[in-house]
């Protein structure tokens, strides 16, 4: 069902100058912060608890709960994750380029609530324009008085650094991000500690939250956590920004009420995805980034709900939905996803570093017509060494969950389309046509 709901994070997207301070102030900008500063940090935290705001970075951990996990007695940092590199995910990119002040405002609100002494926004390096806009927003926010000493006339002070990445998917993983922010190679840290809230940046308690998570905060403070939680359902409260791509008529971003809106609405509604490209049949779709196991037509009526998708064996993850029509080759898609993991594995853990490369090679030879029937079992066996049991959620043998994400696409593909994999062996190559070029 497509519901009426406020645009919580995309309210300014209709303006060409949405990223400027002038537009931001003319559309209610920094009012949430002004209100937050009249409250105590505990009251701000309480509003976020009442909102049941789940983190939007992929793991879906409740923001308010995460904030409670930090030690109160030590210097604390707030780090905002804008590294967005999960394939098919492009919502943070939009928020960074088009509404950077909203991120800055949310960041100051969160820093105030958790008592952070400094905040950092980590911006993916490839977002050159977004980085420029964040820097400009940061400069302008200081001059306006929303950052620096004595914010908005109060005695609250905060410094913010906009920090550029330099091209490495793994730096989205929060402990790798902190390593990168400390000026090192982006190697995820060994757990425990499981959360940087215990030991994070420079060894201090650090709260890491996603860009979209921050972008919700000004609205939550202005309108109240209960009002936010009145949208969506259960743990999936509020709206969420979905990124739709692949074989659909209208790829793009859509802010939708969680839980009540279904995958069918997102993919088929005329005002949203507009249906599968060229009225073709839907073959499969990925419900939450390429780390997520695939869904099929029978899942279309499921709500965009974190728990429901989790129970059905996948995840809403980063909020990106990829549509594959009947012409998509599952071997080619699984190969390309695996290739991504093989390229981006940081190399610390043997199962991830070696496994990703082996699985990629076997998929490639299947696609090219050099495969064998036994390759299917070989693939599953190799993947079982990365995430034993190949269940969901995956078991972990590695430092971070990049490794355990590798099996998702291949296991989905083989379980559902075993015949199509075998046709590649029998016919000596891919029976599907090359991917059709979409003309701009």
């Amino acid at each position: 069902m497509i519901t009426e709901h406020p645009r919580i994070v995309t309210s300014r997207m209709g303006y060409d100058d949405s990223y400027t301070l002038e537009r931001y102030l003319a559309t209610g900008g920094y009012e949430g912060l002004r209100k937050a500063l009249t409250m105590t940090p505990e009251q701000v935290h309480e509003e976020v608890n009442a909102a049941s705001l789940l983190g939007r970075g992929g793991a879906g951990f409740a923001a308010g709960r995460k904030w409670s996990m930090k030690r109160a007695d030590a210097t604390t940092y707030l780090v905002v994750n804008g590294d967005e590199s999960e394939p098919a995910t492009f919502k943070d990119h939009l928020l960074i380029e088009r509404d950077p002040h909203q991120i800055v405002e949310g960041t100051v609100i969160a820093a105030y609530a958790v008592g952070a002494s400094a905040a950092f926004i980590f911006c993916r390096g490839e977002f050159a324009l977004g980085y420029e806009r964040l820097l400009q927003a940061c400069n302008d926010a200081y001059r306006y008085g929303a950052l620096g000493a004595g914010i908005l006339g109060t005695d609250y002070s905060l410094d913010l650094v906009i920090h550029p990445g330099a091209g490495a998917y793994i730096c989205g993983e929060e402990t790798a991000l902190l390593e990168s922010l400390e000026g090192r190679r982006g190697f995820p840290r060994i757990k425990p500690p499981y959360f940087p809230a215990a030991i994070g940046l420079y060894g201090q308690p650090t709260i890491v939250n996603n860009v979209e998570t921050m972008s919700n905060l000004p609205w939550i403070i202005l309108n109240g956590g209960a009002e936010f939680a009145s949208f969506g359902q259960g743990s999936s409260a509020g709206t969420r920004l979905f990124a739709l791509s692949g074989h659909v008529e209208r790829p793009g971003w859509y802010e939708l009420e969680m839980s009540k809106t279904t995958f069918r609405d997102l993919i088929y509604d005329k005002s949203l995805g507009g249906g599968v490209r060229g009225a073709r049949e839907l073959k499969a779709f990925i419900p939450g980034g390429v780390s997520a196991p695939w869904f099929f037509p029978e899942h279309l009526d499921m709500g965009l709900d974190q728990d429901a998708v989790g129970k059905a064996g996948s995840m809403l993850g980063s909020g990106s939905v990829v549509v594959m029509d009947e012409t998509a080759c599952p071997v080619r898609v699984a190969w390309r996803i695996t290739r991504f993991f093989a390229r981006e594995s940081c190399g610390q853990c043997t199962p991830c570093r070696e496994g990703s490369g082996w699985v990629e090679k076997v998929l490639r030879r299947l696609e090219d017509g050099y495969g064998r029937e036994e390759d299917l079992d070989l693939l599953l066996d190799t993947l079982d060494n990365i995430a034993p049991g190949l269940g969901w959620p995956p078991k972990q043998t590695t430092i971070c969950v990049l490794g355990p994400s590798i099996p998702s696409s291949v296991v989905s593909g083989i379980s559902r389309f075993r015949d199509e994999f075998l046709v590649h062996v029998k016919e000596g190559g891919c029976p599907m046509p090359p991917d059709e070029v979409r003309h701009g």
């Binding site: 999960e86 400094a118 490839e126 820097l135 400069n139 330099a166 991917d435 070029v437």
Partner: protein, 210 residues
């Protein structure tokens, strides 16, 4: 410095960036970007300067930089053209576009043209998937791009028609941090010149695209 170190102006800017962070080493990657903006890649001299600024050895700068796709230890073309072939772009024909790009630029993926104008790369998802096939030139976005669109893009670059949109390789940002360089400085600045706060320097501050 004769070996490609940072210019005096960039050294000054680099010191400002170092001062932003609680620990100098955190400035390593931002300074690598700054050095690339000057030279297009990380020269030996720049790495020596960065090492000194952040307090580590030049080898540590190189060892850190080599982890990151955007940091180059060897010269690259004036335009680094990156064609995304990840899932959404692949489903929109990215490998056909990449093959076309190889023919048009006369290089294989990963190579630089003889005249040093173009380097062609195959990119992972660039978070522009609704505009598949997505192409970046020096990390500026273009899309959706098909073969004809690619040819037009190359023509425009060669003719200098995109000079405003696409700076030369290595220039990540044309906007620089101008305020609040450290908590201490911000406080001092505020107390020293409250009247100057909304003054002219604000209006002339580097707007995007200027």
């Amino acid at each position: 410095m004769g070996n490609g170190g940072l210019s005096p102006e960039n050294l000054e800017r680099a010191r400002g960036i170092v001062a932003l962070y609680p620990e100098p080493r955190s400035a390593l990657i931002p300074l690598c970007h700054l050095a690339q903006a000057e030279h297009g890649y990380l020269t030996a001299g720049a790495m020596e300067d960065i090492a000194e600024l952040v307090g580590c050895s030049p080898a540590e700068v190189g060892g850190t930089a080599s982890f990151y796709d955007m940091l180059h230890l060897e010269p690259v073309g004036r335009y680094v053209v990156a064609v995304c072939t990840n899932i959404a772009c692949m489903l929109a024909g990215a490998y056909e576009v990449l093959a076309h790009a190889e023919r048009r630029l006369g290089v294989r993926t990963g190579q630089t043209s003889h005249d040093g104008t173009f380097t062609l790369e195959e990119a992972e998802c660039l978070a522009g998937c609704d505009k598949a096939v997505c192409v970046q030139v020096n990390h500026r976005f273009f899309g959706p791009i098909d073969a004809d669109g690619f040819d037009r893009l190359v023509d425009d670059l060669v003719a200098g028609r995109l000079a405003d949109v696409v700076p030369s390789h290595g220039v990540l940002s044309r906007v620089h941090r101008e305020v609040g360089l450290t908590a201490r400085q911000a406080k001092a600045g505020r107390e020293a010149g409250k009247s100057e706060e909304a003054g002219q320097s604000d209006e002339t501050a580097g707007r995007i695209g200027s």
